[in-house]
């Protein structure tokens, strides 16, 4: 049920930004939420992060791990929820706006 998020319309890249791929250079302030194991690893529930506006989900993970390196141990277990929709770590292109909510979802264990 972790289905890919629908792509938002892409905005044109900022003038002068390099063609190569670290995501668009314009940054957005996203509201990060951490749960379960990710909270335990970094002792963090939420924060605001500045991330490129256009970025793949895997690149976004890499940006987060630069700041919170202990999260690397769960890289193969997590998915994101971006604006309350699940997104797998991979090539999915995200177009983020300031205030967007991004959550790290470790393996769930309800029921």
């Amino acid at each position: 049920r972790f289905s890919s998020r629908r792509r938002r319309r892409r905005e044109p890249a900022a003038e002068g930004s390099p063609p190569g791929d670290r995501g668009s250079m314009r940054c957005q302030q996203v509201a990060m939420q951490y749960f379960a194991r990710s909270t335990e690893l970094e002792e963090l529930r939420s924060e605001t992060l500045s991330v490129p506006q256009q970025i793949t989900s895997l690149q976004l993970w890499e940006e987060i791990v630069k700041i919170h390196p202990r999260l690397v141990v769960i890289w193969d277990q997590v998915v994101f929820a971006v604006q309350q929709a699940y997104v797998l770590l991979g090539d999915q292109l995200l177009v983020l706006q300031s205030g967007d909510e991004v959550a790290i979802i470790p393996p769930i264990s309800g029921g």
Partner: protein, 96 residues
Amino acid sequence: LCLGTMRNNFEGKKVIHFMYEVYTSVAETEIKKICRDVRQKWPSVKHIAVHHRLGVVPITEASVIIAVSSPHRAESLEAVMYCINTLKASVPIWKK
């Protein structure tokens, strides 16, 4: 009716209680999706109730209850099974 109660052991350790954490907005959306799916797959289903406890839940107490009603038992039983399986796969709740 499905009533989920906790075992008194988890990962080889004795358990006294569980602590449940939730990502509320997504959990509500996913549970609503489950209910919509049930109505589509089993149109004769009358009522659906899904309730999951949060915070501290002592063992032997139920952490989750799912109730489905329908004119015939086959649809209810299948729908309840679908609900609990899908809840466990997709609703962002974590136990500790």
